[in-house]
């Protein structure tokens, strides 16, 4: 099975690519980008009740250079947008993005001049989650979907173009 790896320049196939994928899938280190209230649920997810370490994701440190999946948890204001983008740029490839909560996903309740209407305006988002805030279960579900997408090779990091964003202007 010739599965191409995502490393620039190297086309890895066979067992090596499988191993790489397996390793990446099971050691997703999150970059917890807590911007507002959703961050509380993200912290709950890391705690013993939900225990993200069961999936190899407990290493939530605020160091973009050592992380794989960025969890945008909260309202992305225009003022914060450039910072979010810079943190995303600092993360090493391959990198994945989970947009946690309706604020990050679409602007949510804040349809106003100060809030970015969806973080997918500035960075490619792999998984969107519902909820204000999403339950820790929902966040775990989102991270499991990231794992599944890594398995299938359908993340943006695999070179898939970002899907046409559904109605940025028309977004209800």
């Amino acid at each position: 099975m010739a599965a191409e790896s995502v490393d620039g320049g190297f086309a890895m196939t066979g067992p090596l690519a499988w191993l790489l994928k397996w390793a990446r899938k099971n050691s997703l280190w999150p970059m917890p980008l807590g911007l507002s209230c959703c961050a509380i649920e993200m912290m709950a997810t890391l705690g013993p009740r939900f225990d993200l370490s069961r999936f190899g994701m407990e290493v939530a440190r605020f160091s973009p250079r050592q992380s794989d999946v960025m969890i945008v948890a909260g309202t992305v204001t225009w003022k914060m947008a450039s910072v979010v983008r810079r943190i995303y740029d600092q993360m090493p490839n391959p990198k994945y993005v989970v947009s946690m909560g309706v604020c990050a996903s679409s602007g949510g309740i804040y349809q106003n001049y100060a809030v970015l209407q969806g973080v997918d305006r500035i960075i490619p988002v792999d998984v969107y989650t519902m909820g204000c805030p999403p339950r820790p279960d929902t966040l775990i579900n989102a991270l499991l979907l990231v794992q599944k997408k890594i398995d299938e090779g359908t993340t943006h990091a695999h070179g898939n173009p970002q899907p046409a964003v559904v109605g940025l202007e028309a977004a209800t």
Partner: protein, 205 residues
């Protein structure tokens, strides 16, 4: 002003051995305590009737939406997540939605739509774990929103109790609910605070 003087630490305190051992003992003692972790994908939460999942539309026995496309939910929705296009129908309710769309990436599960709806046509479901790879997938249309009434039974019972509790004439003896915490359960005269709340409610508060 209070002057705080550093206490001189003893040798044992300075090399932290005591604190490290105490910390490790605490960690290890947790190994033998009750486990609190709920392993999510296998053990799911069982929400009660008061749970707010995403809102869905109620389907009547004939498979039609109960909704009469009055637009109240669209109007009250704080995040403008609902879009309705109304049309006419031969059924006695005369109006029904042609398209009904809720953007689950806008909805904050506040339940205002459910509270505003005069027909009990939109209620909060127990779905709380929706994730998607694109924004389009999270815009639910009429077909996806329609849910059989039987599946929403507990929630419908709950909102009948909660939102329509003032419908019975509160002045009639025995119909008013007892005020919680005022002693005694069951039927009784409404307490003062409840009576004024009822008055405000009747006056269109």
């Amino acid at each position: 002003m209070v002057l705080v003087k550093d206490r001189k630490l003893s040798f044992g305190e300075r090399c932290y051995v005591k604190s490290i051992v105490a910390g490790l003992l605490y960690t290890f003692s947790n190994l033998f305590k009750r486990k609190v972790t709920r392993c999510y994908p296998e053990q799911k939460l069982a929400p009660g009737p008061s749970f707010h999942g995403v809102p869905v539309l109620v389907k009547d026995a004939d498979g039609h939406p109960k909704c009469v496309a009055c637009g109240l939910c669209e109007y009250v929705c704080p995040s403008r997540a609902i879009r309705i296009v109304a049309t006419e129908t031969e059924r006695p309710i005369e109006r029904m939605p042609k398209t009904f769309e809720i953007n689950m990436l806008r909805c904050i599960e506040c339940g205002y739509c459910e509270e505003a709806c005069p027909e009990e046509a939109i209620v909060m479901s127990q779905q709380y774990e929706l994730v998607a790879s694109s924004r389009g997938e999270m815009r639910w249309d009429l077909n996806r929103l329609l849910t059989a009434e039987a599946a929403l039974g507990p929630r419908l019972g709950y909102i009948r109790k909660t939102f329509h509790r003032f419908q019975a004439d509160p002045r009639a003896e025995g119909t008013a609910r007892a005020v919680p915490g005022k002693g005694g359960t069951g039927a009784g005269k409404p307490g003062a605070s409840q009576a004024s709340a009822l008055a405000r409610y009747r006056d269109g508060y």
